[in-house]
Symmetry: C2
Subunit: 373 residues, 2 copies
């Protein structure tokens, strides 16, 4: 039988652990008293799963791995999340630690369609990290955002994304902005012979997002961004499998949860659902993440995982041009460096500052080995 | 100007609080350095919001209320969540405490379409709590689930819902199950003259869910259930506003987050997005919630809130028939009592046990005042 293997960390004394783990297994499989579940032969034999391993970690911490039949988890993307960390997310003493999918689920979850290799192909960039910046702040007119876009494009940025607060506001309607920014990156590409991707932010209901996506793809955009934790992962799944022709950049907004580790939610789940590049709050920026946490996110995004393509780590959140070398040393060249506000501080010197950024990346990358550290 | 008012609890010393709060305000409004944001007149005057109040709570705990312009929050349901607790959810020292929407946002967020009053109307039940049970465990055939459904209906349950693990599995395909269970509740209603609602679980991608909903509504179901934290709140918004003709029951799966209090996410946000009834893990069951927490969820769901309809609290998660009286004392009669596994334990005596449950509710309610405690 095929199982989804899920590892939880439990806040429990070793003596309490076996009962608690059996309760978690029931919760995540049949969610009825065991006596009820066992009455039906099919349920008893096929649905109840098993405890694979229990390990005391010292103190009141226990790690447990459950094998959960994929008859529910593999039926649709919402059920996958239900089984992975649905009801059990309500137990404050149970945290998701990691999971493994069986080979039979891989056709259901093919992961990123472009990932690291596919986006390199589209940009024609092999030997350095990618660079990224953001059109912001929200409230600027399309004309002002377009000026920023032109400076970023001329300055050598690879991926120019909308800020995640840009939606379909009257001061910069979605269609107007996408048309303007896509025209600009195409103009600059024609001038320079260098490909530049404009990546609009998709926002609203699924119907809104589908309409925005259709418009954006018809305009020829090279990628799109959305926030999976806001939009819902089942919708991301549908987009990736039925609607998206271009790479998907995942934004971490609303993803803060203390009980799914960041590297599992952003590094593993977002990748599995098809994000080609995943933005995360990097260490030493506006957020309190440690280098170790950020390293784990990047590792998860790029780790060999059967046939599932590697996804781009996009460290962000208060990065500076001056840190390009350090970040490349830390993350390696299969990394997309996202610098936003720090470039925008240059004001009228935005183009020069952007060139400094892209030159710093090229320079720092020149002597680094290809691939992942 | 119209503001969304958001209150955060910060883990910070009073001396550090002002800087931290300014940083949170920037993050949740313009997400650029303040110097960059202030360069544009419109951004400076319309987009930057303000700190309304800072209150030291003792120790290293501070409460801060921000006024955030609705020019982003009010543009679509995804931006609402972005502004409410998007990027700032990544700060482990910042927790969402509560929020208030301005009157101008109320047409955008009308809340539940049925709520407590509308569902009472549909069922013709005025003077007692509603009763609810669940078809489970997953793995049973449609024939077996139908038998359970018939016993629940004959036993007097008001709302018979699918377990949240029931999807479109081969052992009980969605359409087959919905047709069978809806036929049963209609048969029993015809026999007894008492209305019974069958409430199927919607699961999958938004496209899957829309197809399931169309089928279920065509069959005449009286309500539907889904898990907003899995499906994504913007999709819930779309469903409520464009597709749903029947009441919506919200399931709490995947909603466990340590930094949005349960009463805010389930009690306030789910209600605002249109859930007519919200299931939560009750105290004294399988989950570790306290009576105080559960009381706060129920309070939020039913509190007067401008023109927004009250939503049903649905305490669940290991409830027993024997607790009916206690739960009615605690939650009052504007409550839907959900007992699942405890009824199913009765096995062949399911019908009698269900009658015990519904009789206990009627009895306990007989001497209680109408309305909310």
């Amino acid at each position: 039988m095929d199982y989804l293997q899920v590892t939880f960390r439990l806040d429990a004394l070793p003596s309490e652990a076996p009962d608690l783990i059996e309760a978690v297994l029931l919760e995540q499989t049949v969610e009825t008293p065991a006596d009820v579940a066992r009455r039906d032969t099919f349920v008893r034999e096929q649905m109840m799963g098993l405890v694979q391993e229990i390990k005391a970690l010292g103190g009141s911490s226990v790690r447990a791995t459950l094998a959960i039949p994929i008859l529910t988890a593999g039926i649709d993307p919402a059920q996958f999340l239900n089984v992975l960390f649905g009801n059990v997310s309500l137990h404050t003493h149970v945290a998701l630690e990691s999971f493994e999918i069986p080979p039979t689920l891989e056709s259901f979850f093919p992961g990123p369609r472009f990932g690291i290799g596919g986006l390199r192909d589209r940009l024609g960039v092999r030997d350095r990290p990618l660079t990224c910046s953001a059109l912001k702040p929200v409230g600027l007119s399309t004309a002002r955002l377009s000026e920023l876009c032109r400076s970023f494009a001329r300055g050598g940025i690879d991926v120019i994304k909308d800020d995640h607060y840009l939606a379909n506001q009257p001061f910069s309607p979605f269609d107007e902005r996408v048309r303007a920014c896509q025209d600009i990156v195409e103009d600059v590409s024609a001038e320079t012979g260098r490909r530049v991707i404009y990546c609009p932010n998709l926002s609203g209901t699924p119907d809104d997002v589908l309409r925005q996506l259709e418009f954006a793809q018809a305009q020829g955009v090279g990628a799109v961004m959305l926030a999976p934790a806001i939009m819902g992962l089942p919708f991301v799944y549908q987009l990736v499998h039925a609607h998206l022709d271009v790479p998907l950049l995942a934004h971490p907004s609303f993803s803060g949860s203390n009980r799914i580790p960041t590297e599992v939610l952003l590094g593993r789940i977002f990748r599995l659902f098809g994000a080609d590049a995943v933005i995360f709050a990097n260490y030493g920026g506006r957020f309190g993440y440690t280098p170790e946490e950020c390293g784990r996110i990047a590792t998860e995004l790029r780790a060999p995982w059967s046939e599932i393509a590697a996804s781009w780590p996009v460290p962000a959140g208060g990065m500076t041009v001056e840190r390009a070398g350090e970040l490349i040393d830390f993350f390696g060249i299969d990394t997309m460096l996202l610098v936003g506000g720090n470039l925008l501080l240059a004001g009228d010197d935005l183009l020069d500052r952007t060139r400094e950024f892209t030159a710093a990346v090229a320079e720092a990358a020149a002597h680094r080995p290809l691939g992942t550290p």
